[in-house]
Subunit: 364 residues, 2 copies
């Protein structure tokens, strides 16, 4: 269907019925296909005239090289794959944005597979990308040594995000959860809050474990006499609410609370408000992540901020190095992305940084 004679070659024909191939260009430019290829790939060894003729023919025919044919022979796809879990809106979009921007700047395309909740899901995603990408960026709690062994096409470069895996073949970039949490706890202590409680994340979660580590380290270092006070949470707003009530029920109420993420901090805030406890006057509160709502709750939430887009950008950079065979040159296989303490109203230190307009307007 749609057919049309393949012979409509009237000079300067614009309305090419079928996609032009390298042969058409060669004929049009009156040179060999080899020369066309040379010009297109900037290999040199062609006179300016030939070059010109080819370029003109290409333009006249609206020729675009077939990427499949090219891939078939070169073995490269100029595409990188991103395998991501069911990430929270902001993280997801920022991460993709960071990766995509950096990739485009290098002429790479981005193949995305998102929303993987299970190991099998993630494994399938990784496997179906085989042959379609030159490298992968993987963020998944299910990815460990075994997983990689079983699902990764041995020679495919990959960068892991936020992963505990420590394998020279698969370098990873992690948030500096430990330092971030430590800095926040130190900050709370510094501004005079004598005791700091910690609302933990889900038991098996890597970020949660690291943040807890940071809490412990800071307490050990800066308030060694003060007993640790850790309550359980699940990273959800609701679990934060429960943790808040639990904290309030303790014989001695802590002076400050550091939640392992912002959603729990928000839940916790509700619990405090409900109980008539003022924040930060009666109790200080801080979270982690700096999600958008952190600025909009009342009081605005102090938190630890991370540039997710930067994480994506750096992951792509590292991946391209890997793809170029340089290997993860110099330094350890595991790199770390710094976090910043953002002091807003809820911690009782500053009170200004309430509303920022960092985010672009909604478009839909």
């Amino acid at each position: 269907m749609r057919g049309g004679t393949p012979l409509c070659r009237a000079l300067g024909d614009d309305v090419s019925t079928k996609k032009a191939t390298i042969k058409d260009v060669a004929r049009e430019a009156k040179v060999s296909i080899a020369s066309v290829s040379r010009v297109l790939n900037g290999l040199g060894g062609v006179t300016a005239e030939t070059q010109d003729a080819v370029r003109k023919a290409v333009a006249r025919l609206h020729y675009v090289p077939d990427s499949a044919a090219r891939s078939l022979i070169t073995g490269r796809t100029h595409t990188i794959g991103a395998v991501l879990p069911d990430l929270y809106g902001e993280f997801f979009s920022e991460l993709i944005r960071g990766i995509d921007l950096a990739a485009r700047a290098r002429g790479l395309h981005l193949l995305v597979s998102s929303s993987h909740d299970g190991v099998e899901d993630a494994a399938a995603a990784v496997r179906t990308m085989r042959g379609r990408v030159d490298g992968m960026i993987i963020l998944s709690q299910f990815v460990d040594g075994d997983f990689l062994e079983q699902n990764m096409p041995a020679d495919l470069p990959a960068v892991l995000l936020d992963s505990p895996v420590d394998d020279p073949r698969y370098p990873s970039i992690n948030l500096d959860n430990v330092a971030g949490a430590q800095a926040m706890v130190k900050h709370l202590l510094d501004i005079g809050h004598a005791s700091v409680a910690f609302i933990n994340g889900p038991a098996g979660n890597f970020d949660a474990q690291e943040r807890e580590k940071g809490y412990r380290a800071a307490m050990r270092q800066f308030a060694p006499k003060v007993p640790l006070n850790i309550v359980a949470g699940e990273f959800t707003e609701e679990s934060g609410y429960r943790a808040g009530r639990e904290l309030l029920a303790q014989p001695v109420r802590p002076r400050a609370v550091f939640a392992a993420n912002d959603m729990m901090a928000v839940g916790c805030l509700y619990a405090f408000k409900e109980a008539g406890i003022r924040v930060p006057e009666d109790i200080a509160l801080a979270g982690f992540d700096d999600i958008l709502i952190a600025r909009y709750v009342t009081p605005s939430l102090s938190t630890v901020s991370v540039s997710i887009a930067d994480l994506g950008r750096r992951a792509l950079l590292l991946l391209t190095e890997l793809m170029e065979g340089k290997g993860p040159i110099g330094g350890p296989h595991t790199r770390t992305l710094p976090c910043d303490v953002v002091a807003r109203e809820s911690c009782g230190a500053k009170g200004t940084n309430n509303v920022a307009s960092k985010h672009p307007p909604a478009l839909v």
Copy 2:
């Protein structure tokens, strides 16, 4: 580098040095490559034995067909492209999620190009996808008839999102902005607010225009005596704040305010709070989009909600129909996605739906 003899064919060799090809499978199964192809593509015309031999060989060799070679000959990539602007976090992730899930279910991959702010940017994205995708989903304020004419490879199916373009070749799916806005204004009127003002979006914005249309329609129909009251906005929180102050400065303060999006409503809310005006007691307030913060501001914001993931899912469905050559069968080229009025505290009707936990927990 990495080399290794291509002859390590010891029976049952697992550690294939190079990727196995269809020839290897044929040899291993002692059949012709044609038979292997037939089995792999389920074309029938093969005995059970042949089939079995092939399957075993495939498994033994960990054979995976080369997608580039396949594309070269079939002309299909089993990949669809998504071209998106610099969308707000939630919209972006929900949209991708909706598209990706539906695509995966059909064995399609998703090539994403995001963050396009200019026409040239979007054009480049569309052009570089040529040949790499079987169809496209495009959301961009820059896409109009001309754009498509100039950048779309004539035979590539595409569906447009949230676009005013009305071209049978490029069906589109739009949010039902008009009906949504109309329903919200009617709701405000219904619950007793005598006058409703409207904070508009950016002048050239399609959504904004449609929402204004809805406001006008509702006022005309349900409060024909009440004068229209429209103030300018830019979809940003800050412009909402300014609009709020402008509204307060009017000789007669409106009883209710409907902002064309939630971010402006939030800004407006700050203006009201600052002026000591109570919401909803002194003035009712409503937005559009149902972004996450809408639930978390105080009072929680009444708004119009849209299932963005559903938009993505439906876009992919429509696209696959197009790709299968069915064309956008039956119905107009432009379809519409319904919106729901979500009454929370700020409009003064209900006061419960404050905190929902619809969103998954943050993972990073």
